[in-house]
C-alpha cells in the first residue's frame, strides 16, 4: 500500500478512536466541571459498559443487532445506576472534597476491577457487531460499522450539547457549575444535580464502550487506557469545556492513530503523556480553556 492510502487508513482509525474518546472524555469533563470531582474510576465505568454489553448480547438470542441494541440501551442504564448508588453512598458523604474523592474513586476503581475479574474472568471476549457491511474504497475495504461508530457518537455529542445549552436541565447544570452556592440559594437542588451529573458522566463512558466493543473486545483491564486518554483530552481541551473536549479528542485520537501506525505505541504514549503534563504545568487552563476564576 502506498503512503497516501496508508495515511487515510490511519486517519480513519484515528477518527474512530476520537469518536469514542470524545464521549468518554466528555463524561469525565462534565463530572469535573460541575462537581469538581476527579473521577479516577471513570475508566472502570467504561469497562463495565463493555462487559455488560457482552453479557446482554450473549443473553439475547436471534439476530446480533437485537442483542447489540438491547446492550446499547441497557448497559448505560445499569452503569448509570451503579454510579448513582456509589455517588450517594460515598462521594456525597465526603462533601465532594477534591482530595478525599480522588482517594475514594481510586478505591472504587480497585473494587470494580476486582469484581469484574471475579465474575467475568480474565478472558477478553468479543461482541458480534450488529451488521457487517464493508465499504469498498479504491485501495482497501473498510468496515461500515466503524463509520457508523463515528456517526453515532457525533449524534450523541450533538444531543449532549443540545441538552447542555438549550434545555432547562442544561441551564440548571451550568448554573451549578458556575456557582453552586448561589444556585442553591435560587432553589436549585444542587445535591440532586450532582447525583445526576455523576450518573450521566458514567453513562457517557458506558455508551462509548458499547459502541467500541464489537471492534475491540471486552476485558476487565480495558478501562486503563481510556482513563489516561480522557485525562489527556480533558486537560488539553480545558477542564469543563465541551467544545475544547471535542476538539482535543479529535486531535488526540487522530495523532494517536497516525503516530501508532508509524512509530512504537509506547514511544507515542511517552511523548503524549509528557506533553500533556507540560501543558498542565505551564498552561493549567488548557489550550482552549479560559483562565480559571
Amino acid at each position: 500500500m502506498h503512503f497516501g492510502p496508508h495515511l487515510l487508513l490511519a486517519a480513519l482509525e484515528g477518527l474512530v478512536t476520537s469518536a469514542v474518546l470524545a464521549l468518554t472524555a466528555l463524561g469525565l469533563s462534565l463530572v469535573f466541571g460541575v462537581m469538581r470531582v476527579v473521577n479516577v474510576a471513570h475508566g472502570e465505568f467504561f469497562m463495565l459498559g463493555a462487559v455488560l454489553a457482552w453479557a446482554i448480547s450473549t443473553a439475547i438470542s436471534g439476530h446480533p443487532a437485537l442483542g447489540f441494541l438491547a446492550a446499547l440501551v441497557l448497559a448505560p442504564l445499569i452503569v448509570g445506576l451503579i454510579a448513582l448508588v456509589s455517588e450517594r453512598l460515598v462521594l456525597r458523604r465526603l462533601n465532594y472534597n477534591p482530595e478525599a474523592t480522588i482517594v475514594a474513586t481510586i478505591g472504587m476503581l480497585y473494587i470494580i476491577q476486582q469484581l469484574a475479574l471475579t465474575f467475568y474472568g480474565p478472558e477478553a471476549r468479543p461482541v458480534e457487531p450488529p451488521f457487517s457491511y464493508r465499504i469498498l474504497l479504491p485501495w482497501f475495504g473498510y468496515s461500515g460499522y466503524k463509520l457508523w461508530i463515528i456517526a453515532a457518537s457525533a449524534l450523541l455529542l450533538v444531543a449532549t450539547w443540545f441538552v447542555l445549552t438549550r434545555t432547562k436541565i442544561g441551564l440548571v447544570m451550568r448554573a451549578t457549575q458556575y456557582d453552586s452556592e448561589t444556585a442553591q440559594a435560587f432553589g436549585i437542588p444542587v445535591d440532586r444535580v450532582y447525583a445526576g451529573v455523576f450518573a450521566l458522566g458514567a453513562m457517557l463512558a458506558a455508551v462509548a464502550a458499547v459502541l467500541i466493543v464489537p471492534i475491540s473486545q471486552a476485558h476487565y483491564l480495558m478501562g486503563q487506557d481510556p482513563l489516561l486518554l480522557s485525562f489527556i483530552v480533558v486537560i488539553i481541551g480545558g477542564l469543563g469545556s465541551l467544545r475544547g473536549t471535542v476538539v482535543a479528542a479529535v486531535l488526540i485520537g487522530l495523532s494517536d492513530g497516525i503516530i501508532s501506525v508509524f512509530f512504537s505505541p509506547t514511544l507515542a504514549k511517552i511523548i503524549a503523556t509528557l506533553l500533556v503534563a507540560m501543558v498542565l504545568v505551564f498552561r493549567p487552563q488548557g489550550l482552549f480553556g479560559t483562565a480559571s476564576r
Binding site: E99, M108, L109, Y110, F231, T266, K269, T273, V281
Partner: protein
C-alpha cells in the same frame, strides 16, 4: 497538637526500634522475612508521609521515586558491577535528582492539578522503563545476582541474602529514617511545613518562601523513597517495572492514611497492618485489590485521621 515533651517522644521511638530489634530473635522465619520487607516499605511510606502528611501535598506519583532508587541501585550493580554502598548511593542520587526536576515542574501547580501532574510524570517514568526493556528487563524485570549482593566492611563481608543481615540492614535504614523524620518534624523547618499545610497564604505573608520550602520537602521525600527502593533492590534482589506502576503510587498513600497522616509512627503501623491484612486474606481469595479498594473508601469515609491520628486526637495528645 499539644506541645510534645521531647523525652517522651524519643523514648517511644527508641522503644519501637528496640522492640523491632528483639523481634528479630523471636519471630518465626516466615514473619521474620515479612517484617524485613515491611520495614523497607515503611521507609517508602515515611517518605510519602513527609510530603502528604506534613506539607499536605497529595502526590499520585511517588512510585517513580521508589523505582528511581530501585533501578538506580539495581542497574548500577547489574550493568556496572558497582559495590553495594556505591549502588545504594547511586539509587539515592537518582531519586534526589528526579525529585528535584519533578518538584521544580509539579510545584507550579497545586491541588488537583498537582495530583494529576505527578501521576502523569510517574506514568512517563513507567513507560520509559518499559521502552528501554533491553536495559531494564521491561515488565519481566531483572534479578540482582546473589554474588553481587555482598556488603564489604573492612575485613568482614556480609551477604545481604542472609536473613539476619537482611533484617538488620532493613532495621538500620528504618531507624535512621524514623529518627530523621522525628528530627525534621520537631525542627523549625518541620513547623514551617505544617504552617504551609494549614494556611499557605498566611505563611507566605509571614515572609516564608513557600516554593523553596516545598521544593526541599519534595526532594527530601523523594530521596527517602529512593532509599527505600534502593534498599529493596539490594536486599531482595529484584528490580521490576511493577514497582513503577500507578499501584505503587497508591499503596504508600493507603499505608499513610491507614496509619495516620502526619504522625511519625503511622507509616510503619499502616504498612504493617495492610501487609498482614493482604497476607491473611490472600489465603482465602486472590482478590486482594478488592481489600485495598474497600480499605481506601472506608478510611476516607470514617477514619480520615487513620489509626495513630485517632489515638492522638482522643488520648495521647503528645504523640509526634
Amino acid at each position: 497538637m499539644k506541645e510534645a515533651s521531647p523525652a517522651k517522644a524519643y523514648t517511644l521511638h527508641l522503644g519501637v526500634i528496640v522492640l523491632l530489634f528483639t523481634l528479630s530473635f523471636v519471630l518465626p522465619e516466615y514473619h521474620h522475612g515479612l517484617l524485613a520487607r515491611i520495614m523497607v516499605l515503611a521507609v517508602f511510606a515515611m517518605g510519602y508521609n513527609l510530603l502528604f502528611g506534613y506539607v499536605g501535598l497529595l502526590s499520585l506519583g511517588h512510585a517513580m521515586f521508589f523505582s528511581a532508587g530501585l533501578y538506580g541501585a539495581g542497574l548500577a550493580v547489574i550493568h556496572l558491577g558497582w559495590s553495594v554502598p556505591a549502588a545504594f548511593a547511586a539509587g539515592l542520587a537518582c531519586g534526589a535528582l528526579l525529585a528535584l526536576v519533578i518538584g521544580l515542574l509539579a510545584l507550579r501547580t497545586s491541588g488537583v492539578a498537582f495530583m494529576i501532574v505527578t501521576m502523569m510524570f510517574a506514568q512517563v517514568f513507567y513507560l520509559i522503563i518499559l521502552y528501554f526493556a533491553a536495559w531494564t528487563g521491561g515488565d519481566q524485570g531483572l534479578v540482582v545476582p546473589q554474588s553481587a549482593r555482598v556488603l564489604v566492611l573492612g575485613d568482614t563481608s556480609l551477604g545481604l541474602t542472609d536473613p539476619t543481615v537482611r533484617y538488620m540492614s532493613a532495621l538500620v535504614l528504618f531507624s535512621i529514617v524514623l529518627l530523621a523524620a522525628l528530627g525534621i518534624v520537631r525542627s523549625r523547618y518541620g513547623r514551617v511545613l505544617v504552617a504551609i499545610r494549614e494556611n499557605e497564604e498566611r505563611t507566605k505573608m509571614l515572609g516564608y518562601d513557600i516554593f523553596s520550602n516545598k521544593l526541599v520537602a519534595v526532594v527530601v521525600s523523594g530521596t527517602i523513597c529512593a532509599a527505600s527502593g534502593a534498599a529493596y533492590a539490594l536486599l531482595f534482589g529484584y528490580v521490576g517495572s511493577t514497582f513503577a506502576s500507578v499501584q505503587y503510587s497508591i499503596l504508600p498513600l493507603l499505608w499513610v492514611l491507614l496509619g495516620g497522616a502526619a504522625t511519625t509512627l503511622g507509616p510503619l503501623i499502616g504498612t504493617l497492618f495492610m501487609y498482614y491484612v493482604v497476607d491473611i486474606t490472600s489465603g482465602y481469595t486472590s482478590a486482594y485489590l478488592l481489600i485495598v479498594g474497600i480499605a481506601l473508601i472506608l478510611l476516607v469515609l470514617f477514619f480520615p485521621r487513620g489509626i495513630l491520628g485517632t489515638i492522638r486526637q482522643r488520648w495521647l495528645g503528645w504523640l509526634p
